[in-house]
Amino acid sequence: MATHLYVPDLVRIEKIEGETVDTKTFTLDWVEAEAHGRFRPEPGQFVEVSVAGVGEVPIGIASSYGRDGIFDITVRAAGKVTRALHATRPGDRIGIRGPLGNSFPYDIARGRTPIFVAGGIGLPPLRSLIHFMLARPEEYPKITILYGARTPADLVYKDELKRWEADPRIDLHVTVDIGAPGWTGNVGLVTELFKKISPDYAGVVSYVCGPPIMIHFVILTLLELGVPETMIISTLERHMKCGVGKCGHCAIGHKYVCTDGPVFSYVQIKELEWQCGENPT
């Protein structure tokens, strides 16, 4: 972390890739070596992205991170800061604070069957862990990815999905809520995709990311299938502002999604719900 909690470091936008009609992937590189040196994210962590004069938004890191310092964020234009981000061009400089938050526990996946369950724009944060596991075939020889989006046009990383489809280490299943001309794949909720796979669920570890309602029903499904409660790992979504546990907006009970999360196990989610009486998903 920088010495000042709220002052961002500068990154240069190296590349902008259109994913869908409202989603783009930005490849970023550090402007200053010192900031680059400090930035050591783990899969699942997020950054606060600043467009000076407009504001700041929390965005999950969407790629693995190596010594080159380059990383991706995938952003849907939903509010004024994300719309301003979409208006930037390669070469522009924006502000980054981070890495923030906790990360996906990956050690527990050794010797187990990792299943990623992604809803819509929930795939990008999981992609950081997918890249991490794909880079370590000895430890994580096979992974399963279940991915649901609203329509075929809303699927992100379309080229990468094709590569994943062809990769013998990956069992990929994709579905959309509503089909479209030319779509020959699955139609239905992401939970339907569990019908396509038949792992030994007692040996599964699942990583879930998506909108709250999707998380809610995926967790119910995983429990029903017999995935151990400690092996259901999910992000929780709340409106974060400061990203460092001070502003209060992302609190669930006495936990802050930005610093205690965004990654929680189902055991923690259940405990939190018992403590505060609010539904965390």
Partner: protein, 349 residues
């Protein structure tokens, strides 16, 4: 800090004492309407006794309603420059509840990752409190371990003994202030000390409001507060945000960028209120607390849950009574705690 024996300061030398500190001093100054506000002013303007605490807490000095975090300029390469608004100063005449709040805020902002914006500002402020011989009509610090007299947390605690103050030193910084005062201070007599103990004792009997915080904490944490009660209480909330803005230990803030022309601007934080519908609403439209009842519960969960108490070192109320003054609907802290406490009695009746 080495223990210090209490001293006395003649009231007529109080202005001289404050001047000897040679730093800006905020203290209780008349608003002209029978009330005080804490303002940086010449020590001669400060009211030394008989005032009821201000509508706005002096914790505003380290944690203002709105504060610049940093400025940017985008002439060529963008630059972000942190804004240091901290000031070496003293707060004179701060009341016990606000000293307690001040220390709570230090604890809160010190949780990792520590926030230097607040901590730097707070660390430069000398707190010279005046214990409360006469609580105000809305005060209930006696129920909240927030006063009326303090055993610690102050740099200097003064007790009004009529023509002089008993002068207690609570920190190294307080000792430094005493050193500057030099000959103005005399050793307190046995009678002075006894008088202080008697005033502290007598003050305990003068409170008009009782708030059974422990019962509130127990029932809320064990989730024994009926939804109907929350609904009934929340129905009286007009979502004005007054309770949060006057609360000396509410910490929530919103962040916004303000433009100063084409290429310059600033990022500011403004204290926010969890009773607002927009507080937890996301850009997607998703809102985990879309209704007033869930937001109202949230406010009191933060103030009274044992899990928060464990994390923050104390519960979220110092008993200053400002929410009692501010709340139009009469659903302030003691009213809510007492409703929670008497719920079963009502149900049985």
């Amino acid at each position: 800090m080495a223990p210090h024996d209490p001293l006395t300061l003649p009231k007529e030398r109080c202005v001289e004492f404050l001047s000897s500190l040679e730093i800006p001093i905020a203290g209780p100054v008349s608003t002209g309407a029978g009330e005080v506000e804490y303002r940086i002013a010449p020590p001669g303007e400060m009211i030394l006794d008989g005032y009821v605490n201000s509508a706005i807490s002096p914790v505003r000095f380290p944690y203002p309603q709105t504060q610049i975090l940093w400025r940017y300029s985008q002439n060529g390469e963008p630059r972000f420059t942190p804004e240091d608004q901290s000031l070496r100063m003293a707060i004179f005449g701060i009341r016990s509840c606000d000293v307690t709040a001040f220390r709570y805020l230090e604890h809160f902002f010190d949780r990792p990752p520590a926030e230097t914006t607040f901590l730097d500002a707070a660390s430069k402020i000398l707190l010279v409190s005046i214990a409360c011989n006469e609580p105000g009509e809305n005060c209930f610090c006696v129920c909240c371990d927030g006063g009326p007299f303090l055993e610690g947390g102050f740099d200097v605690q003064l007790t009004d003994l009529g023509d002089r103050f008993l002068f207690e030193i609570g920190s190294d910084r307080g000792a430094e202030a005493a050193r500057r005062a030099g000959g103005m201070l005399k050793a307190a007599s046995e009678a002075d000390r006894t008088r202080r103990e008697r005033l502290a004792e007598e003050a305990l009997d003068k409170f008009g409001i009782t708030s059974h915080m422990a019962t509130g904490i127990r029932k809320l944490t064990s989730r024994r507060v009926a939804e109907e009660l929350w609904a009934r209480l929340a129905a009286r909330c007009i979502e004005c945000g007054g309770c949060a803005f006057v609360c000396p230990i509410c910490t929530c803030f919103d962040v916004a960028d303000m433009c100063d022309g084409e290429s310059n601007g600033r990022r500011e934080r403004t204290r926010d209120c969890c009773q607002y519908a927009g507080y937890s609403r996301e850009a997607s439209g998703f809102n985990p607390r879309p209704d007033k009842v869930s937001r109202f519960k949230r406010r009191f969960y933060h103030k009274l849950s044992f899990f928060y108490l464990q994390q923050d070192g104390r519960h979220g109320c110092v008993g200053c009574g400002r929410c009692v003054s501010a709340c139009f609907g009469g659903v302030d802290m003691p009213a809510v705690v007492n409703a929670i406490r008497s719920e079963r009695i009502e149900a049985d009746a």
